[in-house]
Symmetry: C2
Subunit: 239 residues, 2 copies
C-alpha cells in the first residue's frame, strides 16, 4: 500500500518493513464525509486506501475552492497533520477506506529511516508542483482550457493509479465539484463540457463516465504537459 512512496526514491527492505510496521487505525468514511475540517487541530495523517477524496478551502463569501483531488494510495494529510492546525478541509467523494497514522509515528519514521523521510519529502514536492499548476490553470486559462486540462490530469493519474484506461474513465465528481476545482460555476461547466463534446474531444456516457476521443487534441486544447506531475519516464510516455 505505502509502496507508492518508493516511486521516486529507491527504498531498502528495512525501510519498507518500517513503513509496514507503522501503527494505524483503519476507518471507513462514507461519501461526502469529512476527514478533517479547516482550523481543526490534527493528530493523524491519513492514507487513502480506497475511494476518492478532495481537499478544499472555503472563502469569505461562502465560495468553495477545491485545491486537489486524491485517489487510492495518496497520503492526503501529511500537510495538515504536520503543520498542526489544518489550513484546509479534506472530504471524501465516495465511500473510502483510510488508514489513520499518528503524526508522531511518521516523524519518528522520518528520523529513523532518512530514506523514507526523503521519499515523503519528495511526495510533498510533487504535491506542491501540482498546486502550482492549478494556480496557473485557474489564474490564466479560460474555461474550456481549464476543463480540458483537468480531464487530462485525471486521465493520466487514474491510469497511473491503475483505475482506468487513458481514454476512458469513470469520473467520481459532479459538475458542481468540477466547478469548484476550476473556479467556475456549475452552469458554465455544463456549457463548456457540452461544447467539448460537440467538438468531439470527449464523449460522455451515463453521467460520470468520460471517454476521450483524441488524447492529443484534448491535451492541446487543455494546454496540458504532464511534466508537472513528475511521473517516471515510462509513465510519462503514456500521454
Amino acid at each position: 500500500m505505502v509502496r507508492k512512496l518508493s516511486y521516486w526514491t529507491a527504498l531498502e527492505p528495512a525501510d519498507a518493513a518500517a513503513i509496514l510496521a507503522l501503527p494505524y487505525r483503519s476507518k471507513k468514511i462514507e461519501r461526502l464525509g469529512h476527514v478533517v475540517r479547516e482550523r481543526d487541530k490534527t493528530e493523524f495523517s491519513c492514507l487513502l486506501v480506497s475511494g476518492f477524496a478532495i481537499r478544499h478551502k472555503i472563502v469569505g463569501d461562502g465560495g468553495r475552492q477545491i485545491v486537489s483531488v486524491h485517489m487510492k494510495g495518496d497520503l492526503v494529510d501529511l500537510q495538515n497533520s504536520f503543520l498542526r492546525v489544518a489550513d484546509h478541509s479534506v472530504q471524501t467523494l465516495t465511500d473510502c477506506e483510510v488508514a489513520m497514522i499518528p503524526r508522531e509515528a511518521i516523524v519518528d519514521l522520518a528520523f529513523r529511516h532518512p530514506r523514507v523521510g526523503v521519499a515523503m519529502w519528495f511526495d510533498t514536492l510533487v504535491d506542491a508542483s501540482v498546486f502550482r499548476e492549478w494556480v496557473a490553470n485557474v489564474g490564466r486559462r479560460d474555461a474550456r482550457t481549464r476543463l480540458a486540462h483537468l480531464l487530462c490530469e485525471f486521465s493520466l493519474r487514474l491510469q497511473v493509479a491503475g483505475l482506468g484506461a487513458a481514454t476512458d474513465y469513470e469520473l467520481p465528481m459532479t459538475q458542481e465539484q468540477l466547478a469548484d476545482c476550476t473556479g467556475l460555476t456549475p452552469v458554465h461547466v455544463n456549457r463548456t463540457l457540452k461544447s467539448l463534446e460537440a467538438e468531439r474531444l470527449i464523449t460522455r456516457r451515463g453521467s460520470r463516465s468520460v471517454t476521450i476521443g483524441d488524447w492529443k487534441k484534448l491535451a492541446e486544447a487543455g494546454d496540458f504537459d504532464s511534466a508537472y506531475l513528475h511521473l517516471a519516464d515510462d509513465e510519462a510516455a503514456l500521454t
Copy 2:
C-alpha cells in the same frame, strides 16, 4: 542565513554547523534575470541572500502566472532541483545575491542530519500551504479581494523577514507583476488599486510604496487569515 530553517523545528548545534558547512557558490543576479527556466535540468538549489524573486509559469496563449514571491532567506529552488526538471521558472525582481548549493549536498545533508531534513520538509509543506491559498485566491475571490489579500500577505511576510513595518512597506513589483500574481490584467489592477485607495484602505506614495490605512479593514476586505502562513504564535499575533 540558513537559520530560517530552524524556524519550525529546533536544531542542534551540530545540525547548524552542517548547514553552514554546505558548499555553495555565491552569485549576483541582476534585476529581471532568470535563475532557472521552465524545462531546464537543474543541479543546484538556490538560497536567496538578498533581494526579491518570483516563480512563474507560462501558459499556452503566452499568459504568465506568478505562483509565488520570495524574499531574503527563502530557499527558492528546492522544488526544481529535486524534481530534476523544472516545472516553472524563477526570476529576480530586483538585483539579488544568491547562494547556489549543489543538489547532492542537500540530499546528503538530509540523510546525515535527519533533523535538518525534516526542517526542510516542513519548509516545503508551508510553501505548499501558500500555493493552496493562492489557488483559492485566484479561483474564488473577486479582484478587489484578491489584491487586498495579496497586500496583507506581503505586509506580514515582509515584517517577519524584517523588511518593513506592518502598515508601511516598499513593494518591489510593478502593477503588471501584481496582475500576474492575481490572474488579472494590469489595467484592472490599476482600477482596483485606485478604488482601494479611494476607500482609504491603502495609500500609495511614489509608485511602489504602500501604506495600509487600517489593517483590520484591509484584512477583512481581503478575506485574509494568516493561518495558512503557519507562522509562530508571536508573529501570527502581529496581524
